[in-house]
Symmetry: C2
Subunit: 320 residues, 2 copies
Amino acid sequence: MLVAPEAPPRRVHITEVGLRDGLQNEPVVLATEQKLALARALIAAGVREFEVTSFVSPRAVPALSDAAELVAALRDTPGLHLSALVPNLRGAERALEAGVDSVVLFVSASESHNAKNVNRSVEASLAGFEQVARRLEGSGVALRGAIATAFGCPFEGNVPVQAVEDIARRFAGLGATHLSLGDTTGMATPPLVTERVRHLHQAAPELALTLHFHNTRGIGLANVMQGLALGVDRYESSIGGLGGCPFAPGASGNIASEDLAYLLGEMGIDTGLELERLIDASRLASELMGRSLPAQVSRAGPRLALSDGDSVPTAEGRGT
Amino acid sequence: MLVAPEAPPRRVHITEVGLRDGLQNEPVVLATEQKLALARALIAAGVREFEVTSFVSPRAVPALSDAAELVAALRDTPGLHLSALVPNLRGAERALEAGVDSVVLFVSASESHNAKNVNRSVEASLAGFEQVARRLEGSGVALRGAIATAFGCPFEGNVPVQAVEDIARRFAGLGATHLSLGDTTGMATPPLVTERVRHLHQAAPELALTLHFHNTRGIGLANVMQGLALGVDRYESSIGGLGGCPFAPGASGNIASEDLAYLLGEMGIDTGLELERLIDASRLASELMGRSLPAQVSRAGPRLALSDGDSVPTAEGRGT
C-alpha cells in the first residue's frame, strides 16, 4: 500500500465535519437555518461529503439537537453523501428515519475515554453495534466505523495499536465499508500514522481508511503529509478549523478544510473543492460563530493573491 | 540527496530567528533587557544557534536598533552561534565590531520585493556583497547567504527557480558556507520545496541548505515534512511563531519553534531542544508581547500532558 512521496494519490476525498465535530465543541449554538446557510456555502465550494450531525442525546450535545431537521433539509440537494454519527440502535433508528446515506458507529480505543464519552466499556459499545449492523441490513444505508482516541488518549496517554486493530476487525466483521481513525485530542504524530495505517492495511484491507486529524499541537497537516506518503486518500476536516479541544482551552480542533484543500491543490491533487469559495464559507462560519477561526489561508488569501504594494508598510531592510 | 521518508535526518539544526524575524514585524518594541530575558529562556531550552538581529538602518527597523548591544550582551554566554543579517558593507562593519559569528547577506529573488526591501536591484545587491565578502576574508567570521521570496513574491507571484539558482551560485562564489531559502510571505508548497532543494543540491552542493518557512497559509510544517524527505537538516523558526506577515494583517509569520521541535522530537529526530523549556520561553514571549502567539503546542501542552478528567466538560456522545 505504500507509495513514494513523489507519487501521492491523484484524488483525495475530503469529508466536511464542521457541522458535526466543529459545532459540538463551540459555545455558540447555531440555529438550523444558520447551519443550512453554511452547508450551502460549502456545497457551492464543491463539498459533497458531509458528516453532518450526530444522533446522540440532545441533552448531552444540545448543539446537535436538530439532527433530523438538518438531514431532512439537506436531502433536497442531489449528489450529496450525508453521514451521521450514532452511538447505538436508538440513534441509528433516528438516523435512518431522517434519511442519511451512511451511519457512523463510534467507539474509543481507550477505556477511559469511552467511559467519559458514552458511559460504557469498549466491549459494551462493540456488542451494541451488532444490533445496529443487523438493523442496517437491506436498508441501503451504509455502515461506517470511527475510532476515537486512535492515536492517544488524554486520560491514558499512549494507546496500543493492537487496541485500534482489534476494533477495526470488529467493524470489518460487522460489514462496515469505511473506517475513520480519530485523532480526538491532537496526539497523532507521523510515526504513529505510519504504524497505524500499516497495521490497518494488513488487518482490515477491506475498510476504506480515513484519517481525521486535529491540529491541537500544530502538526495536523504534517500528519496529512505522512498519510499521503502512505497512500491514504481520505481525510476529514472542518471549515475554518471550527471546533476546539474540550481538554485544552484555546487549542485548535479539527484541521481546517481550506488549509487542507490549499495544501492538496498545490500538490496537484484533485479534491473537487474550489479554494476561493471555501474561503467564503469560512468567513461565513466565522461570522456565525462571532469569532475568528484558526484556519490560516482564509486570513492570508490564496497563494497568488498579490499585494498591490500600497498596503505594504515601510519595509526597508527587513530581510527574509 | 534524496532519502526515503522512512529515513529522515537523525539530527536537525534549528536556528532561532524570533529575536530577528519575529520581532521586526511586531508593533511592540522590546527593550534590550527583555530580549535578553527571552534569549536566556531559549538558551535554557537548548537553543544554541540564533539569528539574533539585523544590522540595518535603525530608522527602517526601530525594533532592531539595539543590534550591537544585544550581540555584545550575548557574547558572554559560551557555546552560542550568533548570526546577524546585514544588507551591505556598513552593516557588516557594525556586525563585525559587535562580535557576531557569522554575517548573513540577504537579497530577494524577485526584483520588486528587493526594491521594496532594500531599494535597489537584485544585481546591485549582489554587486555590493563582493565588498562584504572581501572584508570578511581572514576575519574568522563566516559568510552566509539568505534569499528572500525564494518560493514566491507577494508582488510578482511565482518566482522562477532559475532566479534562486543564479543567486545561490553567486553566494557560493563569494565563499558563503550556508544558504537560507526564505519563504517570506508563506508561498512555499511541497512541490516548490522539492524543485528548489533539488536544483540547489545540484547547482551549489557546497552550501549547507537551510529552509526558512512561514506559516502564513497554514502549511509551514507540511513543507518541513517535504524538506525532511529530501534530506534537508537545517530549519529556521521563531519561538511562539512570533512575527507576522506585513502583507496580510492577522496572518501568521514564521513557523513556531516549539511546534517544529515537537514534530521533530516525535519523529525521533534530535534537535538538542527541550520542549517543556521551549514552552516556558514561548509563554515569556507571549507575556512580553502582550498577546497570545500562534504556536499550538504551547496552548495544548506536550502530547502526554494528561488530563485529570475533572476539567473535562460533560462530553457524552461527542464521538471522535
